[in-house]
Structures are given as structure tokens and as C-alpha cells.
């Protein structure tokens, strides 16, 4: 009785909120697709018109993400790493003796010869595609976050099938946390390097590599930090997966 009432009240409140917001704010918001609306003018125009020359990245999103807003992305990567780290901490194994868990891995019943034969091919092509996405991050569609997710997807497939005799991507949970830290470190070191050569944090044009044009240094810097982001995202997803799987039991309420 109480519960039904609660739902009705909450639903009415949400409806009222929707109506108020639609009524009040819809005039303030810009028209969809209007080239002269506030979000599409100001700094956005500068990004589009001067971005390709300044950052040497044909993909404008990567240019904005890794170059103009490099500091922001650095901290986002750190947040990602901290999330993985926190999962490993929260689910650390001091409780496992009470839990009495058998580590859940898919058994033969899910495998079968077809899956075993085809999965290595799919995983290999996934990894190849991930490398393509990573290194094309600045010239066409792609980027570090997506590449990291793809590599993690290969790992998830590997874990799902289980009992595969294929050791392409094997990371245990504690090792994966360290690898995530290494990813963040690559990013940080790329940011710190220009400081020693008279630049600012993440100022790619002061990177100590010899190239003919200064703009090319931006590509090098972007590739470096994208690699760092890829490693961090991959390791974080693997950490979360491993930590959750480790404590997952096939029987739901067995500890009661």
C-alpha cells in the first residue's frame, strides 16, 4: 500500500518536473543544427578552423581531446585509473576466506570445438582492429579510449570462453592495476617532458624529438598520450572484470 503510493507520488513529481523544464527552458535552448547558436560559435570555430594546422590532427575530436584539452583528459584518465584501483581495493581478498568462492570461469559446456577454433581468430582480429583504431586516432576516426575498450573486449571474450590454449592477453587482477598505473604514467611523463626543454605542461611543440616541422611534434605527443590512455582504459576494465568475477559464485546465496 505504502509502496504504491510512493511510486505514484514520485511519478507525479517527475511529470511535473518534465513539464516545468520543457515549458521554461525550451525557448532558451538553441535550435538543433543552428550554425550560429552559442555552442557552435566562439571557441568551437577556432577549434575547427585552426585545429588541423595547430595540432596536426585531421580528426578534430582527437585534436580537442588530446591537445587543447590535454590537461582535462589527463585527469579523466586518472579518474578512470582510480576507479579501477578503488574496485581492486573494495574487493580485495581479505574477505575471501569467509566467502569460500570457487573462481567462476566458463566451463567446457559453453566452449565446444567450434568456439575454440573460431575465437582465437576473432580475438586476433579484434586486437588488430584495436591497434588500427589507436594509431588512426588522429588521422581518421578512432582514439585511445575506444582502442582500450576494444582490447578489453578481446580479454572479455577470452575470459568468457575459458580454457582456451591461447596466451595473447593474460593479466591477473593485481598485475592489471599496475599496468593501469603505467598507462597514466606514460601520459604524465609525456606531459612533463616539455618542462625540461623550456615549455609548459603538455606543450607538445617543445618535445625533445627532432622533426622537420614543429607541427609534427604534436602528432608524436598525441600518439604517446593516446597510447597511455589505451593502456589505462584496458587495464581498468580488466581490473573491474577480474575483481568482480573473482568473487562471483555460481550459487547465489551460498554464504547464508
Amino acid at each position: 500500500m505504502m509502496k504504491g503510493n510512493k511510486k505514484k507520488v514520485a511519478g507525479m513529481m517527475m511529470l511535473v518536473f518534465i513539464v516545468i523544464i520543457c515549458w521554461g527552458l525550451i525557448d532558451l535552448l538553441p535550435t538543433i543544427g543552428d550554425p550560429d547558436s552559442a555552442p557552435n560559435t566562439h571557441i568551437s570555430k577556432v577549434f575547427i578552423e585552426e585545429g588541423p594546422e595547430q595540432t596536426d590532427a585531421a580528426n578534430l575530436v582527437t585534436g580537442v581531446l588530446a591537445d587543447y584539452r590535454g590537461f582535462d583528459t589527463f585527469l579523466e584518465t586518472t579518474v578512470m585509473y582510480l576507479a579501477g584501483f578503488a574496485v581492486a581495493m573494495v574487493l580485495s581478498n581479505w574477505l575471501r576466506k569467509h566467502w569460500n568462492a570457487d573462481i567462476f570461469r566458463a566451463t567446457e559446456s559453453f566452449g565446444g570445438i567450434d568456439v575454440k577454433v573460431t575465437m582465437p581468430f576473432i580475438i586476433l582480429f579484434l586486437l588488430l582492429y584495436a591497434a588500427y583504431v589507436l594509431f588512426h586516432g588522429e588521422v581518421s576516426l578512432g582514439g585511445g579510449f575506444q582502442a582500450g575498450a576494444l582490447i578489453a573486449l578481446a580479454f572479455i571474450l577470452y575470459t568468457l570462453i575459458g580454457n582456451l590454449e591461447l596466451n595473447t592477453v593474460m593479466l591477473t587482477q593485481h598485475f592489471a592495476v599496475c599496468v593501469g598505473g603505467i598507462g597514466v604514467m606514460i601520459y604524465g611523463v609525456t606531459g612533463l617532458l616539455p618542462l625540461f626543454y623550456g615549455g609548459k605542461f603538455l606543450e607538445y611543440s617543445k618535445l625533445p624529438f627532432y622533426v622537420e616541422e614543429t607541427a609534427k611534434l604534436h602528432s608524436i605527443g598525441i600518439i604517446f598520450i593516446e597510447t597511455g590512455v589505451t593502456i589505462c582504459v584496458m587495464a581498468t576494465i580488466i581490473t573491474i572484470l577480474e575483481a568482480v568475477l573473482e568473487r562471483n559464485s555460481l550459487y547465489d546465496d551460498r554464504n547464508k
Binding site: 509502496k3 511510486k7 514520485a10 511519478g11 517527475m14 518536473f17 518534465i18 523544464i21 520543457c22 527552458l25 525550451i26 535552448l29 538553441p30 535550435t31 538543433i32 543544427g33 543552428d34 550554425p35 547558436s37 555552442p39 557552435n40 568551437s44 570555430k45 577549434f47 575547427i48 578552423e49 585545429g51 588541423p52 585531421a58 580528426n59 578534430l60 575530436v61 580537442v64 581531446l65 584539452r69 582535462d72 579523466e76 579518474v79 578512470m80 576507479a83 579501477g84 578503488a86 574496485v87 573494495v90 574487493l91 566467502w99 581518421s140 576516426l141 582514439g143 579510449f145 575498450a149 581498468t236 576494465i237 573491474i240 575483481a243 568482480v244 568473487r247 546465496d253 554464504n255 547464508k256
Partner: protein, 127 residues
């Protein structure tokens, strides 16, 4: 009349959908008794915010933000800024969801259930 409605929906309609999606998630967070469902509703809310930002980056007549030689005007490409912002937001939401799952597993450890009623009852008993 119909053309007016049509043009209004084409110009502003998508905002209403995102607002509805946002409050659908909020409604779920307020009413669901299961913490797992609350977490899923929080994800729905996040996705509504992401959609909202992506709407702002739209530009009629613009192509994807990858430079094509010969096209240099800023009107030819959609706005890359919301896309760059939301790209990181999506990935971070993945991390926060993972952390939420981990916390739920600890709640399940401690109270034996992730139903709100059971957890509150057990918490009161412990006092």
C-alpha cells in the same frame, strides 16, 4: 498546424526526449527498491545527459569532424567540442559503474541482500 508541430519537433523536440529520459532515470532511482536497479537507472540518467550535450554539437549541413582537404570553413563540420567531452564522460561512467558494482558486492557481503528494505532492517537491528 501540422507543419508548425513538425518544425517545432525538428527544432526542439529532441530536448524533450532527453528530459523525459533523464527523469525516467530519476524516477527509477527514487522508486526502485533494489540497489542494482538503482545503479542501472543512474546509468540511464547519465546517458540522457550525454545525449543532451551531443544535441548541442549538431550543425545542419555539417559533416563528421574529420578534416577533408578543401573544406576549411567552420560551418562544414559539426562541433567537435561536445564529442570530445562526452567521449571521456562515457568512459568515466564505465569506471563509476564498475565501482558501484564493487560496492554492491560488499553490501551483499555484509547484509546478505541488495534489497533496500532488507538492508535498512538489518542496519536497524545492528544498532
Amino acid at each position: 498546424m501540422m507543419t508548425e508541430i513538425n518544425s517545432f519537433l525538428a527544432e526542439k523536440g529532441i530536448y524533450m526526449l532527453t528530459v523525459i529520459l533523464f527523469f525516467l532515470g530519476m524516477f527509477g532511482m527514487a522508486t526502485c527498491g533494489n540497489y542494482m536497479k538503482k545503479l542501472m537507472c543512474m546509468n540511464i540518467m547519465q546517458i540522457a545527459v550525454i545525449f543532451f550535450f551531443l544535441c548541442l554539437g549538431q550543425k545542419s549541413g555539417g559533416t563528421i569532424p574529420v578534416t577533408i582537404s578543401g573544406l576549411l570553413s567552420s560551418d562544414d563540420y559539426i562541433n567537435p567540442l561536445p564529442h570530445a567531452l562526452m567521449l571521456t564522460a562515457i568512459v568515466v561512467s564505465l569506471g563509476t559503474t564498475g565501482l558501484g558494482l564493487a560496492l554492491l558486492m560488499r553490501v551483499k557481503d555484509k547484509y546478505g541482500s541488495i534489497e533496500e528494505e532488507v538492508v535498512i532492517k538489518k542496519g536497524d537491528e545492528e544498532k
